[in-house]
């Protein structure tokens, strides 16, 4: 068996190189958007958007099997559902905050159920598992271009509006008194997260996108002093987890997405437990 690095350099197996480039690009999105998701405590909300995506994928597959035009693709279906979910959640959040939890959970369940039903009614083999857990080795050149563009857009926006994002995340009420369009910022953040989720679920799958949006950022939160530091640290951690997971999946022939999340989860739990024990020891002494 050739080594991972030989495979990366080998032009006859481009999917390995694509997977590596994809992991690097995904790491920045996981790091930056994950930090915003974590400090705003909207991980559940991102989870709902990512699971709603399955409904869109199922609907697109079903429509194509019934003779719909070729431009209808699972990614388009996923994108439409993700954006609709983001808009619905933000409207509920603005108009009826107390119903937010119910709506998030309802979207989560309805999206997944629709996906399973549409796939069951789609002739041929459409396995929801492949969308739930993804396959990083299926990343195409086109996926990479879209991911690269999304990275550039997110980076430019964060650099230009960093102080505004920080203020709206830290204290929305005060930010509103300073004339910041806090609701528009919130909606825009959800839409960017929705688009990113659709792109990123190709790599690690719907279920695991949410883990990668929270675990590297959560780990970075232990030793970051500000949001910018958290974004940088979290991106570096996501990069390490992704590349390490990819290499180990190649070596041990294991699913890459699951392995990446497992590494991220173990590091997060390890550091959490370590800090807890350290805190107990220092409080005793």
């Amino acid at each position: 068996m050739i080594s991972f690095f030989q495979a990366v350099m080998n032009p006859s197996v481009p999917f390995v190189r694509n997977a590596l480039i994809g992991s690097v690009l995904a790491a920045f999105l996981f790091g930056i958007l994950g930090s915003m998701v974590t400090v705003r405590r909207i991980a559940g909300l991102a989870g709902a958007i990512s699971h709603t995506v399955l409904g869109g994928i199922g609907l697109a597959l079903f429509l194509v099997s019934r003779g719909a035009p070729g431009w209808i693709s699972p990614m388009l279906g996923a994108l439409v559902f993700a954006i609709l979910a983001a808009i619905t959640i933000s409207i509920v959040s603005i108009k009826a905050k107390q119903r937010e939890d119910t709506v998030i959970n309802a979207l989560w369940a309805i999206g997944m159920s629709l996906g399973v039903i549409f796939m069951a009614k789609t002739p041929g083999y459409a396995d929801p598992m492949s969308y739930l857990f993804g396959n990083i080795l299926l990343v195409t050149q086109k996926n990479l271009y879209i991911l690269g563009a999304l990275n550039i857009i997110v980076l430019l926006l964060v650099v230009r509006f960093y102080r505004h994002i920080e203020a709206a995340s830290f204290d929305e009420e005060f930010a509103a008194t300073k004339g910041l369009p806090v609701m528009a910022i919130y909606l825009f953040l959800l839409l960017i997260i929705a688009v990113a989720i659709v792109m990123l679920q190709t790599f690690v799958g719907i279920v695991m996108v949410i883990a990668m949006l929270t675990l590297p950022a959560g780990t970075a939160g232990f030793f970051s002093h500000n949001l910018a530091g958290m974004m940088v640290n979290s991106s570096i951690l996501a990069l390490i987890f992704s590349v390490l997971g990819l290499i180990l999946s190649w070596v041990f022939d294991l699913p890459a997405g699951a392995l990446i999340v497992l590494i991220a989860g173990m590091v997060y739990i390890g550091i959490s437990v370590g800090r807890m024990l350290q805190g107990r020891r220092s409080s005793k002494s």
Binding site: E166, F170, E173, G179, H225, N226
Partner: protein, 296 residues
Amino acid sequence: MNQAAQNEAATLGQTPSSLDSMDGKEHGVIVEPALPHPPENVAIWCHDLSFRYREVEVFRNVTFHVHSGEFVVLTGKNGAGKSTLLKLVVGLLEPQQGQVLVFGVSPRRRIESIGYVPQHASFDPAFPIRVEDVVGMGRLSGLSYISKDQKRGDIEWAMEQAEVTDLRARPFSALSGGQRRRVLVARALVGHPRLLVLDEPTANMDIDSENKFFEVLARIKMGATILIATHDSDFVSELADTVLCVGQDSEHPHSVHRHAMEKAEDLPKDIYGSNMLRVRHDIELPDDACCEGKDP
């Protein structure tokens, strides 16, 4: 002309009839009388204000004003509407009837002139942010870009005023309750506000912190109008020029009234950092009681 248009007309210093002419509608026909316009020395002008949250009425036909440079204490029981009134003053809420003006225009057009310290410091303790960055937020104005150098001097000045310069590099989550409130005051001061609005800033604060807090406010009083809501409805700091009681009158629960104050020298000085004033709930003052000797 509808109420909103009249409000805007008053905001712009125009009469509704002049706006009608501009619109080319019903020349000379005034459906409702124009709202009065505040004198120049008035910082907060609240006229015929009514506000409700769905089924819950909070204010009905409330009228009061606050002169520039005054230290005004807003008292009232929990749930009386103090925070709602402050949110109307800073523009977080819009009145359903009547008008609230800050230095003659709607609060949303006075963003630069208002400093706000919200009530609940319910910040996520895990949010990674330093004191200096929290204070720096006060320099934001809409989505416009402000460079770090531009606001450096203002941040230094505000931290000095609120006595938090030494805390600048500390994580906000590592501060005590009193220190956090002073940091939030510094944040509100960064933009050199002409009006500082504080919502129960000393709630759950120990006596030393409260004393220090009022020392800071005494210094700020020299350069700004201060509107502060407090949970203690019987005594207020000697810094106060005016006390406004929210929903105090059981017959008029949705009202705001000006009440008299008297020195309470029989009480210890260990809170508010100075002598206290006793609020005379039995003596209601007319709304123009503060205007004597003040030029319009």
